[in-house]
Symmetry: C2
Subunit: 329 residues, 2 copies
Amino acid sequence: MKLTINEIAEIAQVAKSTVSKALNGQKGVSEEKRRQILALAAELKYEPSASAQALASSRTGSIGLLIPHEAGYSLAGAYWSAIITAIAEVANARNHSLLILTPSSGDDVSGPVEAVIRRRNVDGLIIGAEQLAPEVTSRLVEEGIPFVFIGRNPRIQHYSVDVDNLGGSDRLVTHLLSSGYRKIACLAGPEAYLYSQERVAGYLNALHRAGNGWKAVRHTGYTSAEGREAVAALLEEHPDLDALYITAGGEFLLDCIDVLRLSGSDPRRLGLGAFDDYRFFDYIDIPICTVRQPLKAIGSTAASILFQFLAGNTPSQMNQILDVELVLR
Amino acid sequence: MKLTINEIAEIAQVAKSTVSKALNGQKGVSEEKRRQILALAAELKYEPSASAQALASSRTGSIGLLIPHEAGYSLAGAYWSAIITAIAEVANARNHSLLILTPSSGDDVSGPVEAVIRRRNVDGLIIGAEQLAPEVTSRLVEEGIPFVFIGRNPRIQHYSVDVDNLGGSDRLVTHLLSSGYRKIACLAGPEAYLYSQERVAGYLNALHRAGNGWKAVRHTGYTSAEGREAVAALLEEHPDLDALYITAGGEFLLDCIDVLRLSGSDPRRLGLGAFDDYRFFDYIDIPICTVRQPLKAIGSTAASILFQFLAGNTPSQMNQILDVELVLR
DNA sequence: CTGAAAGCGCTTACAG
DNA sequence: CTGAAAGCGCTTACAG
C-alpha cells in the first residue's frame, strides 16, 4: 500500500502534524525529532502524495507552458522543443512538474486558460505572448495565477523574457551593408507582432546610420501561400534588389527560398539574411547570415522568473532582454 | 471564491453526492435532476478541482510523457516536438493534462519513474523505449501504473507503437539498388537498439533479394565524434563504395555529410540514403533519399493506446507498427 | 432514487 | 516544542 505520513508518524511515535512540519522545513520541531523524521523518510523513500498536498495546501506543485497553436507555423519545431527542455530542467530542479497546455486545433488560447483557472491544476504559467488577447491575461490576473511571457505583447505590459530583436536585426543588416549590398529589402512577419516591428526598426536603423537611402519593407502572414506571394511581390516591385532580409526562419524561410529560385534570379548572387538560425543552413548552397536566439536561455530564464513569483518575490526588471548572436556565412 | 460542488448542491437543493453522480454520468440520479444539475453547472461554468478529484478518486487526470535525455542527441528536436503536439491533442480531447518528464541532465530515466510512483501524479505513462532498463519498467508494473512504449525495447516485451523499420529500410535500399548503386555501405546506430538492428536487417534483406554480394555494416554511437569517426573508417576500409545508407537522421546525418565532404570524395557522386526526413533536405546540394516517419501518428496512436488502458481495456495488438513513406530525391 | 457520512493524505491554525 | 482537530473539495460505499 501507499506509504503515507500516518505510517511515518506511527513509526516515529510522533503526531503527523509534526512529521509534516519536519518534512516541510517549518519551525516548531526540535532539531532531534526533525533529524529522526527526515532520516526515517529517506530510509523508507517516502514522498508525499501530489494530490493530497495540492488539495491541502492549494499549491499544485506544477507549472504550465502554454504554447499558442499558431506557433507551429511561424517557428520551426526546434523553437519550442528547446524551450520545453530548458523549462523542464528548471522545474525538475525545483521539484515541480511541467504541464504542456495547448489549445485544441482550431481554438485559441483562452480555452486552456479557462480550464487552468477552473481546475486549478498549475501554480503558474509561462505563455507565448504574441497574439494574446488582453482579456485572457486579465482573467489570470483576477484569479491571482502568476504568469510570465515568452516574447512580448504590444497590448499587454507584463513580465517577460525576450531577445534583442532590434539590436540583432540592426547588426545583421549592418553586416549585409558592409558586405557591399545596397538594395536590401526586408520581408517581415505580421505587423501586429511586436517582434516584427522591432526587427523592421532594426533594419531601418542600420540603413539610416549607414546613410543608405534604398529601403523596402513588406509584412506578411506566416502561411506558405502568404510568404510565397510576398516574396514574389517584393521581387516584382523591386527588380533591382540585391539582398533580402527575412525576419523569420524555419519553414517560412524555405518557402521564400523556393520563390527566389523559381523567379529565375540566382539566390547565390543575392545577399540573404534571416532571423533564427539552423545548423542545416551550413549545408544549403546559398550563403545565409542569421541571428541566433538563445533558446535554452529563453526557457530557463522564463522559468526562473516564474519561480520567483511563486516564492512571493517580484523580479526587479519587467522585461528581460537576452542577447542574440550573429552567424555569418 | 472557488465554486465548489457544495455551492452547486445548495443552489440545486440536492445532496452533493447527487451532484457528483450527475456530473460524472453515474447511475442513481433521476433524469430530471441530472438535467437540472448539468444545466446549472454549465451556466455557472463549474469545473471540479483537479486536486480534490485526484485525491478522492485516486485518478490524477493527467498522463506523462517520459523523454529519455539522450534522445536529444540521436534525434533532431523535430522528433519529440511533433510527438508532444500529437499527444497533447489527444490528451486535450480526453480532458487530461500532459506532463513532460525528463531526467535531470546526467541522470537516467529511473529518477522520474520513481518520482511518479511515489508522488502518484500521473495515471499512465508514454515512454521512449530504447535504452530502458527492465528494472525500471518492472517497478511500474508492480505499482500498477500503465504505460506504452514509443519504439520498442529488445529486453522488454510491452505494448508499443513503432514504425516499420525493417520494411522502410528494405525499400530504401532497394531504391538505391534500382538507381544503379552496387556498393552500398550501411552506417547504423548503436547495435543494442532494436531499431538499429531492424534497419540493418532491412538493408541486408534488400541486398540479398537483389543478389547483391557487396555489403558493409558499421555501428556507431550518436555523438558527433563517434559518427565522424565511423564514416571515416567506412571510407577507408571501402574506398570503392558508391553509396552510403545512414540509418538515422538529424544532426547526426549532418556530421556524416561533413566527413564525406572533407574526405575529398564528391558526395554528389555518392548515392545517399537516410532514415528520417527533413524538409531542408530539399535545399542541400546533395540528393538524399529518405524514409519519413509518421511522427504525429506515432504520438496519437501511443496516446490512444494509453487511454485504452486507462479505460480498463487491453488493446488486441501488442505492437502497433506504422507505415513509413519513401522520399526520393 | 436520495442523502448523510466517511475517507482520500496532506496542511494549518489552535490549544496545551 | 507537541499534538488533536478541522478542513481542502471531491468520491464512494452504505442506509433509507
